[in-house]
Symmetry: C2
Subunit: 399 residues, 2 copies
């Protein structure tokens, strides 16, 4: 008989975005003329950079046989033209010792975050922030790792928990700038995690999907800015928010050559060949067109264009942050991050309903990201300036 | 301590293509002027269809904000515009009862073939053909399923084994038209597998990556042409060979609504919601641009263009097949398939070396695909006509 993987029945259904959609739809039906502004989503709204567009058009003509040549199957790890630029611009130019062969290009950070746990034994214990991006949790539950340590991210710890909360966890997922809280971690805070991991043969899975939003000098863009991270960390990067690639699908994962896991008898086993094996066996590379588009982000035009778009989103975030602060709300994020995390002084869903019903504004209730998110809402800066300004005007009326 | 997934150490390293590359490189170094013709690869060589190219250019302009609208995150299961066309053209128009919501679009059949085993319990026993596409085997070994039943594909059974060879296996991977043997299965042969699966609560994983090469009337393009397949089969489809998408990355998987696996207590558990959960949790959809390109395959121009390209490859295959038959070799495939499987009347690697050294032709030794592939080579029809004709001329001289 065909036995099922019974761990799937242990995942909590993610009602969050379905429930939001349900409430928004009910509200819109009751008020057909209401002009609803959506500040709940984490998806970008601005078009792709012109240099990315141009590079992808050219890549399609390559595939049409009109350009340089036809490209078929590419290397599963990504084309050298992209890996070389990543290593240089994202790491070496910033003083980090990361080589092109330690970078594996993929179709997005969500896939890599979800698949990486395949490399670990079934008994490995996981720790995640609370509130948290649900992919870290669900993918481990699917693999039978049901006992997950939660690291509360609260106003008391500035939404950045330290390793003292990790207990006997073997792997910790860290995400800074954080989704959903918008919190950023200092180099000293990350260094504590790195030291803890090296001292105890633990692993940090560092999600840097939002690093491009960091503007404050000294805030680390990568875990590899910390001393010793090469022996204890894997980093995930995404072009989704950096360059509006949410519908294009490209990201990459950095696995340093000297990073090890351990066999039952304590023998070190390097993780880079394992991740390479995983990707070459179960993945066939990101689209050639996509990778040419990603390469264009690293041109001087691409860098300027993508920076301008992120500056625009950061201005949105600052406007939202300032408006809510002026109304007396305690606000995290919105600086070095596209997300504003608002202490609503009450129930997440009640506040969500109030903004929906009285201001026609959609946000995301913090409780949907975990227990410690109760009492907060997340507001996203991904929207047009006109919508953000109108939303602020409405917020000023109802708050 | 961070324990590793020790199953990775049990995968056999795939020396095949590395070993071929090594021998070809050594030969080229020794004979720098030799014009080597590569008939080993399974990658396409002809450019994308003009209608696909046009659709992708337009899709990029959508993402540039110049077209209809900006597309960000799409549905993980694929856009309705593509799923609807697949259901209609690939299934309903051919008399099969497959609905759009049973189709999940992905970035390729390799990924889906590799990931599908996550839905099954660790004790599930797998059966695969011998010779075989190594992804089926390696992905199960990674998950700890080490005891894999081999179904020998030999001249005696016409390279199509029947369910009597499957023993106590719970899941069987079938691929027709077959890679590497080029063999095709009749409807009666597939119906036997379907009946076996339904009678014994087994599952068929049907890889139909090469279905577009079928020209002989009556040969099934899909497992769902068989009576009862909806309760025992999942099918993988790929645009890689159908439409030259090897570098574009798109395919889909069909999971019928009434298909079940079973909990330990025998309770049926539907697989479609599980696969949907897997894809929504660990995948973020195929690129919007790619999906618009795939949609264009279903236009009348796209259908004509892709059919013409496959006809061209089939003519190549027929030329190779006829040339080797005329020399007295027993040949399978090359009809309804891009692969010609040649009984070399001796050792696979010796014959490979003979063709490389004496004719500057690269093939793939059958032994590289499994024990039962010893004594054969695979010749691929993916090449230009000029190269195929020259290769045949050289073969005629040395054989």
């Amino acid at each position: 008989m065909l036995h099922v993987n019974e761990n799937y029945s242990k995942i909590k259904p993610t009602y969050l975005f379905a429930e939001i959609a349900h409430r928004v739809s009910a509200h819109q039906s009751a008020h057909p003329d209401a002009k609803i502004i959506r500040l709940g989503i984490g998806d970008v709204t601005e078009p792709l950079a012109p240099s990315v567009i141009a590079a992808m058009h050219k890549a399609i003509d390559d595939e049409a046989g009109k350009g340089e040549k036809f490209y078929g199957y590419g290397p599963e790890q990504g084309y050298a033209f992209l890996r070389d630029k990543i290593a240089k611009v994202d790491f070496q130019d910033r003083g980090m010792d990361i080589k092109a062969d330690e970078i594996l290009v993929s179709d997005g950070a969500k896939c890599d975050c979800g698949n990486i746990q395949e490399l670990f034994g079934p008994d490995v214990k996981i720790a995640v922030g609370d509130p948290v991006y649900p992919v870290y949790v669900d993918t481990n539950i699917m693999a039978g790792r049901l006992d997950i340590t939660l690291l509360p991210c609260t106003a008391e710890n500035g939404f950045v928990p330290g390793p003292e909360a990790a207990g006997d966890a073997d792997v910790v997922y860290l995400c800074y700038p954080n989704n959903p809280t918008g919190a950023i971690a200092t180099k000293a805070q990350l260094q504590k995690w790195v030291d803890w991991a090296n001292e105890n043969k633990k692993l940090i899975l560092f999600d840097a999907a939002y690093e491009a939003f960091i503007r404050t000098p000294g805030i680390p863009h990568s875990i590899f800015e910390c001393e010793g991270a090469r022996t204890c960390a894997i980093e995930f990067r995404s072009y989704s928010k950096t360059a509006g690639f949410t519908g294009i699908r490209c990201g990459y994962t950095v696995v340093p050559s000297e990073l090890n896991a351990y066999a039952a008898d304590g023998t070190p086993v390097p993780l880079k060949p394992m991740w390479t094996r995983r990707q070459t066996t179960k993945f066939n590379g990101a689209s050639y067109i996509t990778q040419r588009g990603a390469e264009a982000i690293y041109s001087s035009e691409g860098q300027a264009e993508t920076k301008a778009t992120i500056d625009f989103y950061l201005e949105n975030a600052a406007l939202v942050r300032e408006a809510l602060s002026a109304k007396g709300y305690k606000v995290t994020g919105g600086v070095d991050s596209p997300y504003v995390w608002v202490d609503v002084k009450g129930d997440s869903w009640e506040f969500f309903d109030k903004l929906l019903k009285e201001a026609n504004i959609v946000t995301t209730p913090g409780a949907g990201f975990g227990k410690a998110g109760e009492g907060y809402i997340r507001i996203s800066a991904f929207n047009s300036r006109a919508n953000v300004l109108e939303a602020i005007e409405r917020l000023n009326k109802v708050l």
